[in-house]
């Protein structure tokens, strides 16, 4: 296996899936000649041609809206949103159509769309380049959501999304795009949706996270004297409740970590599932370490906003001392 960056792994998946299935096409802003502003689509134009790697006009709702029609015409569109914050204009198409159209046809048609975008902060970028919008997506019926935290998962989850018969949103933590590198299987590699990953084993406290918060939790675990288990959710919908609940049953203590603003974020869903299904396992409150209910700050102070290993470890210690 080769060592690759996360964004190289994304490119890998696109190359492999476009090779494998002639119906897969990529569309978005600057995905062609420029190969994407993060180079995620580099080489696709030359290899697969301008019909299957399309530089679109600057209109996100147009990208997703035409992708719905492209799917009806028999394509498997993979839409790139240049940054997560620029996916907001297509929330209307996502909520009103992408998540509903199959249902509206009584199950007669499939909409195997993939929407992929970079997500999250920590990259010292201007305003609206560092949001974490997963909650908007996961709350929307008819849409699946996954967020990788390693290069291998980035490749495998994207491949699974492209092959999935339902619409899937893939959020790629941009702070992890270029480092660290990780082993990535060559050729076709699929990580099925709906399977969480125990990223670190431990018996005393469970840290549940996804995307860029997984490495933060792994660091936090090293700061603790107690044994911390780190669960990488990977697939927010479908959600692997079993793996999460098994860990909570083992440790009795859980900290949910999310970079997005706290209120009604996906971390709340994780806490709610645990509070409903594992209440007797709990030896203390379910704590959340999250972004705050404010816009993602200007980058000179972003480290004061994004959850740190120290904040996660502090929450874990509170629980261990509970």
């Amino acid at each position: 296996m080769a060592e690759k960056t996360l964004v190289e792994a994304v490119n890998d998946a696109l190359q492999a899936e476009m090779e494998r299935d002639g119906d897969v096409m990529v569309l978005g802003e600057d995905v062609g000649r420029a190969g994407g502003v993060f180079r995620a689509t580099a080489g696709l134009l030359d290899r697969f041609g301008a019909d299957r790697c399309v530089d679109t006009p600057l209109a996100e709702a147009g990208i997703l809206g035409t992708a719905v029609g492209l799917a009806m015409a028999g394509w498997r569109p993979v839409c790139e949103m240049q940054y997560e914050s620029f996916s907001y204009p297509c929330l209307d198409q996502l909520i009103t159509h992408v998540g509903r159209y199959r249902w509206r046809t009584g199950g007669a048609m499939e909409f195997p769309l993939t929407i992929r975008m970079p997500t999250g902060g920590g990259v010292r970028a201007p305003e609206l380049h560092e949001d974490s919008p997963e909650a908007y997506y996961v709350h929307t019926p008819g849409v699946k959501v996954a967020i990788p935290s390693t290069p291998a998962d980035a490749k495998g989850l994207l491949a699974a999304a492209i092959r999935d018969p339902d619409p899937v949103v893939i959020l790629e933590p941009k702070v992890l795009y270029r480092s660290p590198r990780g082993e990535v299987p060559e050729g076709e590699h699929v990580v099925p949706l709906g399977q969480a990953r125990v990223a670190r084993e431990g018996g005393d406290v469970t840290l549940v996270a996804y995307g860029a918060m997984v490495p933060v939790c792994l660091e936090a675990a090293e700061l603790l004297d107690a044994g911390a288990e780190v669960v990488d959710v990977r697939s927010l919908k479908p959600l692997d409740e079993e793996t999460i609940l098994a860990s909570v049953a083992k440790t009795g203590r859980v900290v949910v970590v999310q970079e997005a603003p706290r209120v009604a974020g996906f971390g709340a869903e994780l806490a709610a599932v645990i509070a409903e299904k594992a209440i007797l396992d709990l030896q203390g409150p379910i704590l959340r370490v999250t972004g705050y209910d404010v816009p993602f700050p200007y980058w000179s102070v972003e480290h004061e906003y994004v959850p740190t290993p120290e904040r996660v470890a502090a929450a874990a210690r509170r629980l261990l001392a509970y």
Partner: protein, 342 residues
């Protein structure tokens, strides 16, 4: 419109100053198909209204007076072309053999109203204004990329042209040279909002200029003018010349929907005038002047339509109450385990 506005294409005359025109090569049989289609939709609309008053369906978007636009354009399509309707064209599938009970079921909120778009090449009814324009464009673009010759037509209103979704879809259509027809039903109202409060453009067809696509303005009460403009647009599309914007100018002389009371905002006199000039009557008079339509044929068309509608209503009445399980069906091919958690 009466009199036909300058720059608005018109073929049907008024039997007085304005002479009747004709479409080359369009024979009597085709003319009568257009007529039967209009009678069918008119019958559907009028019967549905009664059916609604009987409390058998919910809110219903009346399309009385829009038949010329829907039939003239739909019959210009090839069988494999796709139709992307708004709620205003809810019954357009009848022109593709869809049974009336399917559409009635949709308005009753019954899952039997879910049809398979592929069975009729008629996409699902789109409720959010203009959001289906990009779908039609994407379909047409996708068909072109697949090397097929099928086109797509999207129906939307004057109000829809104010939405970003219309703009983005239209621009994609032009840029991708999508074989699509953007058919704007300009009935001069968006519920209570008049065209003058919707745009300052002199005509909606002017918007085509900004997309670099041809814009055509036709009399939406003239089924032949609509047919001709659509046929020309489709020929262009199949020749690889891309999309066309057609503004079909008419006037909404019925309430927006059954829930709407237009007396608060419209001018009764104008409405009466438009009613007297409604599109089916205009075409019927044209056909009689041309000696194509006889009383027998007219009667036959009406009774056939009525029979089909009666059967549709009977079938709608016979629909079993939906299985509650349908709530959980169809949202996903491969549902997440938590789907039923509630």
């Amino acid at each position: 419109m009466l009199p036909a506005e300058p720059g608005v294409r018109r073929i049907i005359g008024d039997g007085e100053e304005v002479a009747d025109g004709e479409i080359e090569g369009l024979g009597d049989a085709a003319l009568l198909d257009l007529y039967r289609g209009m009678v069918l939709l008119r019958t559907y609309d009028e019967r549905s209204l009664v059916y609604h008053r009987q409390g058998r369906i919910g809110t219903y978007a009346i399309f009385w007076g829009h038949e010329a636009i829907q039939v003239g354009s739909a019959l210009a399509l090839a069988d494999e072309d796709w139709i992307f309707p708004s709620y205003r064209e809810s019954a357009i599938g009848l022109l593709r053999g869809m049974p009336p009970e399917t559409v009635l079921a949709w308005w009753r909120g019954h899952p039997a109203g879910w049809w398979n778009p592929e069975a009729f090449r008629v996409a699902s009814i789109t409720v959010p204004i203009a959001t289906h324009v990009p779908h039609a464009v994407g379909y047409a673009w996708g068909a072109r990329l697949k090397g097929r010759s099928d086109c797509a037509i999207a129906y939307f209103g004057d109000g829809a042209t104010s939405e970003g979704a219309f703009h983005e879809g239209a621009n994609f259509a032009a840029v991708m040279r999508a074989p699509a027809v953007l058919l704007c039903n300009n009935n001069q109202w968006a519920i209570s909002t008049p065209l003058s409060a919707q745009t300052r453009a002199e005509s909606l067809a002017d918007k085509a200029v900004g997309y670099g696509m041809p814009g055509v303005r036709v009399d939406g009460g003239d089924v032949l003018a609509v047919y001709e403009a659509t046929a020309e647009a489709l020929a262009r599309a199949r020749a690889g010349e891309g999309p066309t914007f057609i503004e079909a100018l008419t006037y909404r002389s019925a309430p927006h929907a059954t829930a709407d009371d237009p007396s608060a905002y419209w001018d009764e006199e104008r409405v009466e005038e438009e009613r007297r000039n409604e599109c089916l009557g205009r075409f019927e008079r044209y056909l009689r002047r041309a000696g194509v339509l006889t009383d027998e044929l007219a009667e036959e068309a009406r009774s056939d339509a009525l029979a089909r509608m009666k059967a549709g209503i009977a079938a709608a009445e016979a629909l079993p109450p939906p299985d509650p399980e349908v709530v959980f069906a169809h949202a996903y091919v491969d549902p997440p385990p938590g789907l039923r958690d509630g």
